[in-house]
């Protein structure tokens, strides 16, 4: 499986990254090399093998449904790049 520049552009869009033309070329080459290396995994027969998502599998880790104090609003907004009326402010969402 070989990645093209179009694939790189598509993935960049999914990842919300802008790439320069130089970066697109570079990433196409590097990602191809890494994925080629990763293809060695196909040599292994994994039929019937359960996938491991976590080394220490814990299931349904819950706490009691008891309400607790929320974060104070000043803390929430402490690092906000822009805020107004105690809300995070961003430029236009829709054109």
């Amino acid at each position: 499986m070989s990645i093209t520049i179009q694939d790189v552009e598509h993935v960049a869009k999914l990842a919300r990254l802008d790439l320069t033309d130089v970066e697109k070329e570079q990433f196409t080459g590097q990602l191809n090399a890494i994925l080629k290396y990763a293809e060695q995994l196909n040599a292994l027969d994994t039929e019937g093998v359960t996938p491991t998502s976590h080394a220490m599998p814990l299931v349904n880790v819950m706490r009691d449904d008891v309400s607790r104090p929320s974060l104070p609003i000043e803390k929430v907004l402490l690092n906000a790049p822009d805020e107004e009326d105690q809300q995070f402010k961003v430029p236009a969402v829709l054109e």
Partner: protein, 485 residues
């Protein structure tokens, strides 16, 4: 002689008798940093005012009957991906250059209870992605043993600062070897605990199923003390192990008579520097003299670990780093005219090339049409790798091998090809995939640069890992060597 050359108990004793003060210890840090950090560059930020006022407050307690643990007053450095309330935490990224955490990580809270003194935040590869500390967006860190060489990564600053005598010990994080590899390159002790033993609450996530915080120290005993202080169940971390923490310090002096060691042939073969291999064989000799026995074993899926890791870790990272969108924290691009710009531009301006590369790789591996071929396949191979460990641990108590295939390399030597860099972690990565504990302990020098011995244990068996490492260390003098800075 540095105050930090004193043993933990000696310092505790001298504090008790008021022969030393906490201020003395903290001033030792700042003096040493002033003397050598221009060359080592381990720190991103020093917290001088707070460290000095904490020291003064702790000194008021000296001479009183107040209960003081063994870690009381010791200066510590913290890797900059562990959040510290009120002290800028950047993950060595431009994206978080202005990030002021609103909370302390659980491990930081535990250290405060243990009354250590935080000296500052330590340099690392950006978002913990790297093996040389060359991916920091701020500056590189140098290996104190030879400043033209890398300290390793991603906890390069954590390792270098301890090796250079700038702090008594430090905390780092390990996802594919990021504590153990720099510890090996810098000639100190570094340990990755069992997955789930130490809370990840407040550790900026890279790969959630692999990340663990751990100690970097000048000897095994200090690592045991620090590990004891930071371990334990944390309800704020849903992957935290709800188990009793054994007495790691009590376990240190046990005998290794009859201990069964497995040495995987895959860890001692092709790709490993023969001089490094010889150091491991010498180390095994030392342990044999203490009554342990060792045999060659096989872990046949070892060669697939790096590929498995890079698919899984990058996939998890692409998901974890999606939160850096420029909306709630971090540096928002000045050029953004609409919301999509906020995302695209803030991320593109804020992330370095390695971070972008791994996000791209992970996004691709998880994307529709490729998920089964890459991500799911890698998860299945992870199971096979874990089974290799289970099989060996059914017959042996620990697994031993070199921590890294070679000693440290020159700054700039491996930056052209990402894949070459990835292969430095070939011996540490399988441990994270299996979730088991492992320590790197100095076992000699090759070409004037340190070499590390890796001791791997069964899940939650840190006590045995520490005991073996301590038994080995006690029979050598590597921990007494100091770099000529």
């Amino acid at each position: 002689m540095s105050l930090f050359d004193l043993q933990l108990q000696e310092i505790h004793h001298k504090l008790r008798s008021k022969e030393l003060s906490v201020t003395d210890l903290v001033e030792q840090s700042f003096a040493r940093i002033g003397e050598v950090d221009g060359k080592v560059k381990a720190f991103l930020k020093l917290d001088e005012e707070n460290a000095r006022s904490s020291a003064r407050a702790l000194d008021e307690q000296l001479g009183t009957d107040a209960e003081r643990g063994l870690l009381f007053g010791l200066p510590i450095g913290i890797k900059d991906n562990i959040v510290t309330e009120g002290l800028t935490t950047t993950c060595a990224s431009k994206f978080l250059s202005n990030y002021n955490p609103i909370y302390d990580a659980t491990v930081v809270q535990k250290l405060k209870s243990a009354q250590t003194v935080t000296i500052g935040k330590l340099n690392m590869d950006e978002f913990a992605m790297g093996g040389s500390n060359e991916n920091s967006a701020y500056h590189s860190t140098s290996n104190p043993w030879n400043t033209e060489f890398v300290p390793g990564g991603s906890s390069g600053g954590s390792a270098a600062s301890v090796a250079a005598g700038e702090v008594y010990f430090s905390l780092g994080s390990d996802t594919g070897g990021s504590i153990r590899q720099p510890a090996a390159y810098c000639g100190i002790v570094g340990m990755k605990p069992t997955y789930g033993l130490v809370s990840r609450y407040g550790l900026v996530a890279f790969a959630s199923s692999l990340d663990q915080i751990g100690p970097l120290t000048k000897n095994v005993e200090d690592a045991a003390y620090l590990l004891q202080a930071i371990s334990g169940y944390d309800p704020k971390d849903s992957t935290s192990a709800n188990v009793d923490i054994p007495d790691y310090i009590g376990a240190l002096n046990g005998s290794v008579k009859g201990l069964r060691i497995g040495v995987p042939k895959e860890y001692m073969g092709k790709g490993v520097d023969p001089a490094v291999r010889d150091k491991v064989l010498e180390a095994l000799n030392v342990l044999e003299k203490e009554g342990a026995v060792w045999e060659e074993v096989s872990m046949p899926h070892s060669e697939y670990a790096v590929a498995t890791y890079y698919l899984l870790a990058s996939s998890e990272a692409s998901s974890n780093l999606a939160r850096f969108d420029g909306v709630r924290y971090g540096v928002r691009s000045d050029n953004a005219r609409n919301l999509l710009d906020v995302y695209h531009m803030s991320r593109s301006e804020g992330f370095g090339p390695e971070v972008k590369r791994r996000i791209m790789l992970g996004t691709y591996a998880l994307s529709s049409g490729y998920y089964d071929a890459y991500y799911l396949k890698a998860q299945k191979v992870r199971t096979l790798i874990k089974q290799d460990f289970d099989r060996v641990f059914a017959q042996y108590d620990v697994i031993i091998g070199p921590t890294t295939p070679t000693p440290a390399f020159r700054i700039g030597e491996q930056t052209a090809d990402p894949l070459t860099m990835y292969l430095n972690d070939i011996l540490t990565i399988p441990v994270n995939l299996a979730g088991v504990p492992a320590i790197s302990v100095p076992c000699g020098f090759v070409g004037g640069l340190p070499v590390g011995l890796q001791v791997i244990g069964k899940a939650l068996d840190e006590a045995t890992v520490l005991r073996v490492a301590h038994a080995f260390e006690s029979n050598t003098d590597h921990r007494l060597q100091r770099p000529a800075l």
